[in-house]
């Protein structure tokens, strides 16, 4: 087995003085496809921020045995101001990390890269449109392109199935399966029902983290893991999160 891409060891962190995550351990290997589930406020997004290196740790450490990997990140779309005047092409271009980041225009090579990415995702016809004019699925796709354009070794997706219809969800999961051949994927969702058939393993995050080395999870195990997510409700049924006892 190859060396892990990233290791979280005994990580404790939070915001200001509030602890959100406590003593979290996780290893991410090159071909992993980890579904991260847990209730709202349980620390899923916080764990992502630790991995991305934008949240200081109170305790513990994050190491990258193969050197810091290229990471692609798709934030929660609800965090984004969709009325900001930026075109799909510029959005995708903003994911490029290259030598010319200080100059007003992308190089010819970078433009080609952006076009290739848009072509692959079937967004070419929308390239000059502002992101505010896209549908939910198209928006997710555009942000996924921004995450992918750097050829990440680790792709981190925060709730990519919000604001999208079923058809797009299926397309997204087919796409992710394909991408998983080349990169590790960390998929955060509050909806275990939809993600469990496609992920390889599951991490339950609720203050702490419980790693489950398969994608089959029973309600009993969730209780043991202290991870109160609803297993049955998904799809059109409004999502229900069980309260802690």
């Amino acid at each position: 087995m190859s060396k892990p891409l990233a290791i979280l060891e005994n990580v404790t962190t939070g915001y200001f003085s509030d602890i959100v995550l406590k003593n979290v351990d996780l290893e991410i290997f090159p071909n992993d496809f980890i579904g991260v589930i847990g209730p709202n406020g349980g620390g899923k997004t916080t764990m992502i921020k630790v991995l991305l290196g934008i949240l200081p740790l109170f305790k513990g450490k994050v190491t990258f045995p193969q050197g810091k990997p290229n990471m692609g990140y798709l934030p929660q779309i609800s965090q984004i101001d969709k009325s900001f005047p930026i075109t799909v092409r510029d959005l995708v271009g903003s994911g490029l990390k290259t030598e010319r980041s200080w100059f007003p225009h992308l190089s010819a090579k970078q433009k080609k890269q952006v076009n290739q990415m848009l072509d692959e995702a079937g967004l070419m016809s929308l390239a000059s449109k502002p992101i505010g004019e896209l549908s939910g699925g198209q928006t997710q796709k555009a942000f996924l392109c921004r995450a992918l354009i750097n050829h990440p070794q680790l792709l981190i997706l925060d709730e990519p199935n919000t604001f999208v219809d079923k058809g797009f969800e299926q397309e997204l999961y087919r796409w992710l399966k394909e991408l998983n051949k080349e990169m590790a994927i960390l998929l955060v969702s509050h909806d275990i029902g939809t993600i469990s058939p496609m992920v390889k393993t599951i991490a339950c995050v609720n203050g702490t983290l419980h790693y489950h080395p398969s994608n089959q999870l029973t309600e009993d195990l969730l209780k043991v893991y202290n991870c109160p997510v609803d297993i049955i409700a998904h799809g059109p049924v409004p999502h229900r999160v069980l309260k802690d006892h």
Partner: protein, 280 residues
């Protein structure tokens, strides 16, 4: 028409024209950032806080614009700091700053012995009295801002749009956000001369929303806003001269009229386009 050309022979009017033009070009860049980031209210707070600096400068016998600049920069960076820490209700903090600045300004102006003849010109602008030195200052600041926007265009847009992602990409987000706060503060203070404290923000927003009738691309909003801003300011300046009304009010009135006319035009165009689609 000959009257229009005859006033161009006066140096003060040529200065005013240059000031109006430069101010609208400067406001086109800075205002696009303000409107895109939805920080119009913050900018209003900065503008009115600067009045405290004007009053203080009067009291101590300093250059009022210097006082305004110090107050504006301090409040701009202060608000950016508050919003990054996220611990205080930002809108309330801005409202306090807004009214406190005005209160301080009035207190100090009234404590200053003698009459303050230029007070009205700060509130409503007095572009016809802009001198050569102020014009050069405006030109220098415009060139600096233009250079900053050209060299750092992408990081400026990225840090405005999605600061968290920009940080992950290794862009020094804090540097760009604070630098833009300072640029906003100084741009506002410099423009106070043209349209006055009460109206200055319109110069940073109306040309932008006019431009956004036609495009939703940051890079294209700037030149379009420059065009509408310059046209409106120049027309407003002639209007103010011939009807003998304060330049700021005249400019803002023309800018708004221009927006409404173009908005009507765009709505009519969309209406007829929809009709075409039905037919075909």
């Amino acid at each position: 028409m000959s009257e229009v050309f005859s006033i161009l022979e006066y140096a003060f009017f040529r200065n005013a024209l240059a000031a109006a033009l430069l101010t609208s070009l400067l406001a086109a860049m800075v205002g696009t950032y303000i409107v895109s980031r939805k920080i119009v209210f913050i900018s209003g707070g900065i503008t009115h806080a600067s009045f405290g600096g004007i009053g203080m400068a009067y009291f101590f016998g300093l250059n009022p614009l210097l006082g305004a600049a110090v107050f504006a920069v301090l409040s701009a960076t202060g608000i950016e700091w508050i919003s990054q820490k996220g611990k205080v209700r930002e809108d309330s903090a801005i409202a306090i700053l807004w009214s406190l600045g005005m209160a301080l300004g009035i207190i100090f102006v009234f404590m200053t012995p003698g009459y303050s003849p230029n007070l009205m010109s700060f509130l409503f602008g007095s572009i016809l009295s802009v001198g050569k030195a102020e014009l050069y200052l405006l030109l220098a600041f415009f060139i600096l801002t233009l250079a900053f926007f050209i060299v750092f265009f992408r990081p400026v847009v990225y840090t405005a749009f999605d600061p968290e992602f920009a940080r992950i990409m290794g862009i020094p987000v804090a540097f760009f956000r604070y630098t833009m706060s300072v640029i906003i503060a100084l741009a506002i203070v410099i423009s106070i001369r043209t349209v006055g404290i009460i109206l200055v923000l319109s110069l940073f927003t109306i040309p932008q929303i006019t431009a956004m009738l036609f495009t939703r691309d940051f890079a294209k909003i700037i030149p379009l806003a420059a065009l509408w801003g310059a046209l409106g300011s120049l027309a407003g300046l002639f209007f103010s001269y011939f009807f003998n009304i304060p330049s700021g009010a005249a400019i803002i009135f023309i800018l708004t009229l221009q927006f409404l006319i173009l908005k009507g035009f765009v709505m009519a165009r969309n209406f007829f386009r929809r009709d075409e689609k039905v037919i075909t």
